[in-house]
Point group: D2
Chain length 357, copies 4
Amino acid sequence: MSTVNAALRAPATGDRVRIGIVGGTGYTGVELLRLLAQHPRAELRAITSRKEAGMPVAEMFPSLRGAVSLAFSDPAGAGLEDCDVVFFATPHGVAMEAAPRLLAAGVRLIDLAADFRLKDPAVFEQWYRMPHGCTDILAEAVYGLPEVNREAIRRARVIGLPGCYPTSVQLALKPLLAAGAVDPLHLIADCKSGVSGAGRKAEVNILFAEASDSLKAYGVSGHRHHPEIVQGLQAIAGTPVGLVFTPHLTPMIRGIHATVYARITREMDFQSLFEEHYRGEPFVDVMPAGSTPDTRSVRGANTCRLAVHRPQGGDTLTVLSVIDNLVKGAAGQAVQAMNLMFDLPETCGLGQVALLP
Amino acid sequence: MSTVNAALRAPATGDRVRIGIVGGTGYTGVELLRLLAQHPRAELRAITSRKEAGMPVAEMFPSLRGAVSLAFSDPAGAGLEDCDVVFFATPHGVAMEAAPRLLAAGVRLIDLAADFRLKDPAVFEQWYRMPHGCTDILAEAVYGLPEVNREAIRRARVIGLPGCYPTSVQLALKPLLAAGAVDPLHLIADCKSGVSGAGRKAEVNILFAEASDSLKAYGVSGHRHHPEIVQGLQAIAGTPVGLVFTPHLTPMIRGIHATVYARITREMDFQSLFEEHYRGEPFVDVMPAGSTPDTRSVRGANTCRLAVHRPQGGDTLTVLSVIDNLVKGAAGQAVQAMNLMFDLPETCGLGQVALLP
Amino acid sequence: MSTVNAALRAPATGDRVRIGIVGGTGYTGVELLRLLAQHPRAELRAITSRKEAGMPVAEMFPSLRGAVSLAFSDPAGAGLEDCDVVFFATPHGVAMEAAPRLLAAGVRLIDLAADFRLKDPAVFEQWYRMPHGCTDILAEAVYGLPEVNREAIRRARVIGLPGCYPTSVQLALKPLLAAGAVDPLHLIADCKSGVSGAGRKAEVNILFAEASDSLKAYGVSGHRHHPEIVQGLQAIAGTPVGLVFTPHLTPMIRGIHATVYARITREMDFQSLFEEHYRGEPFVDVMPAGSTPDTRSVRGANTCRLAVHRPQGGDTLTVLSVIDNLVKGAAGQAVQAMNLMFDLPETCGLGQVALLP
Amino acid sequence: MSTVNAALRAPATGDRVRIGIVGGTGYTGVELLRLLAQHPRAELRAITSRKEAGMPVAEMFPSLRGAVSLAFSDPAGAGLEDCDVVFFATPHGVAMEAAPRLLAAGVRLIDLAADFRLKDPAVFEQWYRMPHGCTDILAEAVYGLPEVNREAIRRARVIGLPGCYPTSVQLALKPLLAAGAVDPLHLIADCKSGVSGAGRKAEVNILFAEASDSLKAYGVSGHRHHPEIVQGLQAIAGTPVGLVFTPHLTPMIRGIHATVYARITREMDFQSLFEEHYRGEPFVDVMPAGSTPDTRSVRGANTCRLAVHRPQGGDTLTVLSVIDNLVKGAAGQAVQAMNLMFDLPETCGLGQVALLP
């Protein structure tokens, strides 16, 4: 099962990719719907929710009235096996259960949860507190960060899409680690996330009256994205990586701002390094020297904006990295991966300009 | 000058409308840029700002990096007279000054400020505290609310685009007044606006630390949009209108929620009235009975969502109306008018799905 | 049981009122703790939560670290019957169950929920969907709005504390109805509330990512506070009252802004009417003519600020009324009632200045 | 002029400190008023504003209606020289100009701006772009951080009150530097501030529609508080200090969250170190191991809450420090200093419990 199946469905030019979404009642789900409803080569065939089966999607999310006419359907009868690709916008553990059957039917998978991110099943089990049910598929799964794995994504049957924090931090550090310019053992990523990153779950700590007009760190001693970031950075650096990672909950709906600190070990022109490293990347924007990107500059857009600083000319670099956690940090990156998998232009359907103000 | 000039520039099929924007440094300006950058038939030729001439637009608004490559230019040398249409996203009084010259050059005008909204120059002067400089052009100008004036807009040389509050209130009351179903003399419009409605001006009262986590009424005894709403409602009703209008400043960036109260004078099925009245309107969404639309359901979209209620079966109707003040309340409505003026599909470039969450 | 018990515990001068709180894990509970911790004549004896028994209160609410050393205790062993007064900051239905036993022990009760607000048990049952368990106590209970019922509150054994919306609306209309100045049959109260008014409950619709940067009406066709407001207004007016009441959820933590519309039936100087009506009231502030109070001006304070307007000199008055829903709309009003009940200065412990910005 | 004047006015027991405030129209000014209005030993004599002279303070800040009856007065006739202490809540440069005259009159000074913070006039001039007008007074001025300089503050004639960021960072690092436990040359302070920290100034970048629902870094390559923090940390450590300091603007009104990273050089029990170091400090709260304080837990209170973490048992400590920038970061700390200077209990008038939610 580890080689690409020649029979993988690929739509002919001008055809539309037939798409299923499993679990569309969360924020990554509705964001996928927003993007796919405007995608010229996407044909949304089914969106499933066991609990809400029968309810029109636009009844739950009135923003989709007039744009998405589908109703939620029960996964069993949704016809997912007739799709070209199925997105999993589900809690962790769902995709791995459904994967064997769908792959056998020739369907490709993009999992927005964590089932196929961590290469070591033991690490997965430690952080997600469940056994990994299909380690053979995990072995062939591709980590879906196009700026790192573009060619592998094109050929992949299964994508483990990066988490939102890992996307922001890896893109910030990739030029430096690839160039061997910083000490890989003492990296610090101080990350600030909007509240939608916690999902659409009925929990007290993310109520408006709790999370508004306040800010706090969480997961300081350990967060699930830590091993994922370290795994990704090590793959880039080719050496062991040490990272202190501090996520913060901040009173905004969308957006991640990663402030990353790295000690310089090799002198070079860091602004040029970043500009050259990302030249031609459609969704990474290296800003001019001295810039301080704000998260709203990518609100609703599939863009990561980066700025590299060397405060007071010292020995430490400060890299600023902003993404929309639901777009480049989730649904947009998923569509970007889909475009690669189906030989569509990588930017197809992803031309949204950020909503500012 | 009051008939449509046969020589009005109209782009051939497939051609692009050549567009100029005067005053692009405010919120309606950047919103026009966002929409036009994604409009398949728009060619943005110039955007002017005397103060910022030479600065790339995307330097002021990084959200436009990669989408808009123009720099602000001085109005004098911007070549506005070579455009098919010029939008004025300026303070009140600017469009009326430039209008004669541009019209003489065959350019059509869409003014997002108030210069061409109020038909009575004396009323304009009373509320905007400046004389009206070109009352002949005012006489031919068309009030740019497509759901009321669609055919006139198609032929217009000059559009006075409605204000944001007036759009939300007129669309809420139009079916009722047109049907003679309510007392036109005792209407109440209790409106709540996001802070971007106040513009991008350095004023203390709209600072984050002033306007956040708080709510207040303003302009209770008189607001510039009051005469405009009354004028529009009277045109619809064909009779005098009495209106109490209370605007409120609320801690959100975008969005207007109008809550409109009207005393019933003629019994009918009001839900059906609304549905039939707006059948076929691409940008007015009559929601199912019992709905309560939220402003975020139209965030970034050119849609007005309406719901009509009759609390406790009493003699008063409550109509809920939500728009994005910068889109259906300004830039989106301007593009909608442009589409009509240039025989493009009315929805062209306006398919954005609202950003939720 | 319907007369005041002569043996009601009253603390001697200088003594402290012994206080119990049932259900301290919600927002009205923590707000009571904030106020009582700074009250010079309050002795907090017990705070109960069946679910959190044993947990220090300050562990759940770190804002109380150093100010409240109590832990939650199980209601059974909390010694509530040894208190002078017990506050119920509980879901509806809890206070009525505990009331007979506590009253028999000579304890006085202040219920912040709805058990003792509605005089007609049938109305209670219709809106709260549970039978009323102790209608005899309901009969003697006093509606705890000091500006209406001050003397009755002093002597009461049981207080049904007003809801937040009802407080804001009744204080806005009281001078007008008492003076017979407006049409009581066609009142409109358009109310905007912060999200804390919905309580500290794990529900999706009040998540930060749902309620932030958006605004919506709810309960348009019927809301539990409607019969309570009508009951209160009728008591003030002495005649039947007709009211359209529209609550809105707005993106702020605290605060209610009621915008109340009433048709004038009797001419007078309304500014003077309000000023004279509320002269001497410590917690009602009639603002100067032309004012528009913002909710932050009462954030954290037990104050209601009012402004009366007559837009364009027409036949309709617009009254603006702001309170902090957790203070004058709940916990502060509860302490005010307690002060009256125990012959303390009415303002004792309630001198907090609003937190602005 | 560098020794304490024996004739310094000190109020007799029970007497009130006579207080003047220069420049009360900003956020630190209104916060001083809020605190002093509730301070049992404060007598507010004058508050000056050249621009607003004659306007009642409560007209500008309605939150003060009923609590502060003073009007702004012109500095010239305000009688400041008859006060015991004058607070300067002014732009930088004002206090230094007025200081000689007031000191000569026996008045003590607390400057909330930067005039007396930086010991080296050249550093002041570099960062504040103005010459320092009275270096002799600067030489005697005491840096007003009570947890570092308590005894010196008691005797001081002139206090240079710390900035908000410096307060949060110094309190976070003091135990570690004093114990020689971390590498002083590679400290990182990643700080997140509410928007009120930018002051009550009409500037576009802090408008609600700009700063809401977004987050950005600023001053990455250099910020005025950097030299102040370094100066303070060096005084604590007794050795040179290297610091990377990144301030971020976050969408909340009040609050600073400092996330401070330090490399361990000497092993010890860091939780105990912090607890013992701050034992007895009334306004520093070392939270239990594993805590993550939120900024709202100190909203409106003069408290700094700290938590120390050692992520994954590595070689780097992460210290979390939260304050209200307007209280412990400005006005509250100023009152704390005043209490020390006039032999009042240090906590006098500073018992406010944080407003949560």
